[in-house]
């Protein structure tokens, strides 16, 4: 059998995919890491302080893991879900009957709740260990934006099952946007954007209208929230995550001394 694996590893097919031999020394380990796209996203080695669990709690890592779980289960759910008023509720109800491993939606929901909890714990830990102090202040700001996007993901995803809970939660939540200063049609300063006697900010042109796509929560809102939930916000999260991790690495690795 050793001969077979030798033959495979010497073949051109193998060598074209894995350019370097298996690492046997430190230099080769580094070479393999640095020349591999997937592996180079992780540092070659991490300092011992990075795995001090009572200090780091690992909540950032757990949050990222949950985000990956959400992405995978979310994509799988998309194969059986139609974001229309006619089909949304039924599709999710039927998931368990239509498909094996129909617990995708349960996993998706549980992981979403867990992700919100762990992201708060991560924020709490960063605050307690002072890891927001210079030169790491801007990374904290990026983290706050990530928190906002996580909560928006929860908000937009909540509407998709299209049950009573979803519709009224979004109605009530989006009604608050009516009272936005200047940009909401029932908020203070709404008159400021009046041009020549014509109100620019009305119930059909204010911030709430842009969010819902209509004047009440309906078909357009479902479609809009579906796209926000599956594409637009995850793209933003991915971008900010990349910068967030990059900054941690460049500032000396996780839980480095100030």
């Amino acid at each position: 059998m050793a001969g077979l694996s030798e033959i495979i590893r010497e073949s051109q097919l193998w060598k074209s995919i894995f350019r370097h031999p298996m690492p046997v020394d430190r230099r080769n380990r580094i070479v393999v890491m640095l020349t591999n796209f997937f592996l180079h996203l992780h540092p070659v080695s991490i300092k011992k302080q990075g795995i001090a669990l009572s200090y780091t709690w690992c909540m950032g890592g757990v949050t990222f893991f949950l985000f990956l779980v959400e992405t995978v289960t979310g994509v799988l759910l998309m194969f059986y879900y139609r974001p229309t008023v006619q089909w949304a509720y039924t599709d999710i109800q039927m998931l368990r009957d239509v498909d094996s491993l129909g617990i995708m939606r349960e996993i998706h929901r549980w992981a979403a709740h867990a992700m919100v909890i762990t992201v708060w714990l991560h924020m709490y830990r960063v605050f307690l260990t002072g890891s927001y102090k210079p030169p790491r202040e801007f990374n904290w700001v990026i983290g706050v934006f990530l928190l906002l996007l996580t909560l928006l993901l929860s908000f937009t995803g909540y509407l998709l099952p299209w049950d009573q809970l979803a519709v009224w939660a979004i109605t009530v939540g989006s009604n608050m946007a009516r009272a936005t200063p200047i940009l909401g049609h029932e908020g203070p300063g709404q008159q400021l954007l009046t041009l020549g006697g014509v109100d620019m900010i009305t119930s059909a042109s204010d911030a709430r209208f842009a969010l819902l796509g209509a004047r009440e929560v309906g078909e357009e809102t479902l479609n809009r929230f579906y796209i926000l939930h599956c594409i637009a916000i995850p793209l933003g999260v991915a971008l900010l995550l990349a910068v967030h991790f990059w900054r941690v690495r460049k500032d000396g690795g996780i839980s480095g001394p100030l």
Binding site: W168, T171, V172, N175, M176, A204, S205, F209, A210, G213, A214, R215, G218, E219, E220
Partner: protein, 211 residues
């Protein structure tokens, strides 16, 4: 050199530090020939062409910036659709005598989000249409016949029969829709016009039918 080499050298020459290097006489820097000195005059000539290029590039970048700004505005406008898909706002609910004095009609609430009420307000008997949207955060209140009040299940806002809020977090009374008697004798409600009590609009004859 290493420590061992230095020790061996010190041992080989015990008469102390070696002689200092002989001083080198440095000749003065040669004067630049004429063709090289002319360089200080050259930029004045090339300036005009460089400025032209620079100006063009600057104009180009400003133009690009303007186009990008317009693109961003267009993308924002993209999110505001021009078409509203809503059912027609006017609907008929029957003749005025279908609504006896004191009645709160709830059968149009599910489809049109309205109660038709016949009661006394401000000293006169009126029929009017109340919008069944709680003024707190938008849930649908219920009419409690036994207690003669509207009560919102979400956060407990309470309204009297005439729509005035008296308990809970509701900040203002329920809104009224425009209402009139149409040509065929039926009451017609228009959901596109609302009247707020707190703005003094309930005196407007378009929002009630005197009985």
């Amino acid at each position: 050199m290493s420590k061992a080499e230095a020790a061996a050298k010190a041992k080989a020459s015990p008469k102390g530090p070696t002689k200092a290097k002989p001083k080198i006489a440095v000749p003065p820097m040669p004067v630049k020939p004429a063709y090289l000195q002319a360089k200080s005059a050259a930029p004045a000539k090339a300036d005009a062409t460089d400025d032209g290029r620079r100006g063009f590039l600057r104009l180009g970048f400003w133009g690009l910036g303007a186009v990008l700004a317009l693109w961003t505005l267009a993308t924002v406008k993209f999110m505001f659709p021009n078409v509203l898909r809503e059912p027609p706002s006017k609907f008929k609910v029957g003749p005025p005598d279908a609504f006896p004095v004191g009645k709160v009609e709830t059968k149009y609430k599910a489809q049109f989000a309205v109660w038709i009420v016949n009661t006394e307000y401000n000293g006169q008997q009126e029929i009017y249409a109340l919008k069944s949207v709680c003024t707190h955060l938008g849930c649908t209140p219920n009419w409690l016949e036994a207690e003669q009040k509207f009560k919102c299940p979400c956060h407990g806002s309470g309204y009297y029969k005439d729509g005035i809020n008296f308990e809970g977090p509701a900040p203002r009374p329920l809104e009224r829709y425009a209402i009139r008697v149409a040509e065929d004798g039926q009451i017609e409600v228009d959901r596109s016009r609302t009247f707020h009590e707190e703005l003094g609009q309930w005196g407007n004859p378009s929002c009630f039918i005197p009985v």
